[in-house]
């Protein structure tokens, strides 16, 4: 299962980046980035997974004394939690700039934004 999740994560990164590279519409480009974002989250969580163990939450099911043998790595989960929240912030910024570009240039097609092209 963990190999499958890892492979899916890598596939999502590749698909998302392909979409982000080849599309010309800014909104489609940002959609590609969010797909790649989800892929990286999946890869990171899979790396922290240990087969046959359970979530890092102590309690009746996992007493603290045996926690070291029963739980999976909590650090990648904390990292991914941070990454998801920051990902929303990055997406919001990209969308705000995309709308700004639309408001000043009247287009979302990046091939028509030639000011920085040489």
């Amino acid at each position: 299962m963990v190999y499958l999740a890892l492979a899916t994560g890598f596939a999502l990164i590749l698909l998302g980046l392909y979409g982000a590279i080849t599309r010309r519409n800014l909104l489609r480009l940002i959609v590609g980035f969010t797909v790649a974002d989800t892929g990286t989250h999946l890869v990171m969580v899979s790396v922290g997974y240990l087969p046959g163990r359970t979530a890092p939450i102590l309690g009746a099911a996992v007493p603290p004394e045996v926690a070291a043998l029963r739980i999976i790595d909590p650090v990648p989960q904390a990292l991914v939690l941070t990454a998801i929240v920051i990902g929303l912030g990055v997406t919001a910024l990209m969308l705000a700039y995309a709308w700004r570009i639309y408001a000043t240039r009247g287009t979302l097609d990046i091939s028509r934004l030639r000011q920085l092209k040489w």
Partner: protein
């Protein structure tokens, strides 16, 4: 087409790297050293049952402070970029009135969703959940209100006040940790309580509630500035 060929070559290279990583991947048989430390010492150090919450709020508390600061910056930049935008070109279709069903439903649902968000961040040290999830849920209550009545005037001042007061209180708790306990954002400034009860784990529920309010206010402000049409 050469551009497309370059894109494919790039992605193929990346795919090869990923393939090598995938083939060399082997799940660890046991926890690594830092994870082992967290597994063995979280209860004695922090008293929290949810180790992820303990890592986020206490062990890596400074990172979380940085994270909410990044979110605050994002909200501020989004508001700044979107202010004073040019008017839409072309005729704007009028706002369609939302239905009776949505109005009544949202009057019922919005308080419940907000309550659930508060439940999620207050129980973050015991069950899955925490400040970020709770804040996102509160922001979705806000989103429902926004969808029901797009013309409603939301109080920017209230959102800004919530955001800055909870942010200041967060930093103040961190400084209190330096004065009263082991260091910045140490949760042992409050009694540890009994393991597994809601008033336990020192300051973790308090800090998570503040993070929840702050994150909820920041997400709400991002949603508001992206949804508001220029007047």
């Amino acid at each position: 087409m050469i551009k497309r060929a370059i894109a494919f070559a790039l992605l193929a290279g990346l795919g090869l790297v990923f393939l090598a990583l995938w083939q060399g991947f082997e799940p660890d048989p046991s926890l690594n050293r830092s994870a082992l430390y967290y597994a063995e010492n979280t209860v004695t150090d922090t008293g929290a049952a949810n180790i992820v919450a303990a890592v986020i709020v206490t062990y890596r508390g400074l990172d979380t402070l940085g994270e909410v600061t990044v979110l605050f910056l994002t909200a501020a930049i989004v508001a700044m970029v979107l202010r004073g935008g040019l008017a839409d070109s072309g005729p704007r279709p009028g706002r369609w009135p939302t239905g009776e069903l949505l109005h009544t439903g949202s009057r019922l649902l919005v308080p419940l969703i907000a309550l659930f968000g508060a439940y999620v961040f207050l129980n973050g040290h015991l069950t899955p959940g925490g400040g970020f999830q709770g804040g996102a849920i509160i922001a979705s209550a806000m989103l429902l209100m926004l969808l029901t009545d797009p013309a409603r005037n939301f109080s920017h001042r209230l959102i800004a006040t919530t955001e800055s007061v909870s942010g200041l209180a967060y930093v103040a708790i961190g400084l209190a940790g330096m004065a009263l306990a082991g260091g910045f954002l140490d949760n042992r400034i409050l009694p540890m309580g009994e393991f597994g009860s809601i008033l336990s784990a020192g300051a973790i529920p308090l800090i998570y509630a503040l993070i929840g309010l702050k994150v909820g206010a920041e997400f709400s402000s991002i949603l508001l500035s992206l949804s508001e049409r220029e007047k």
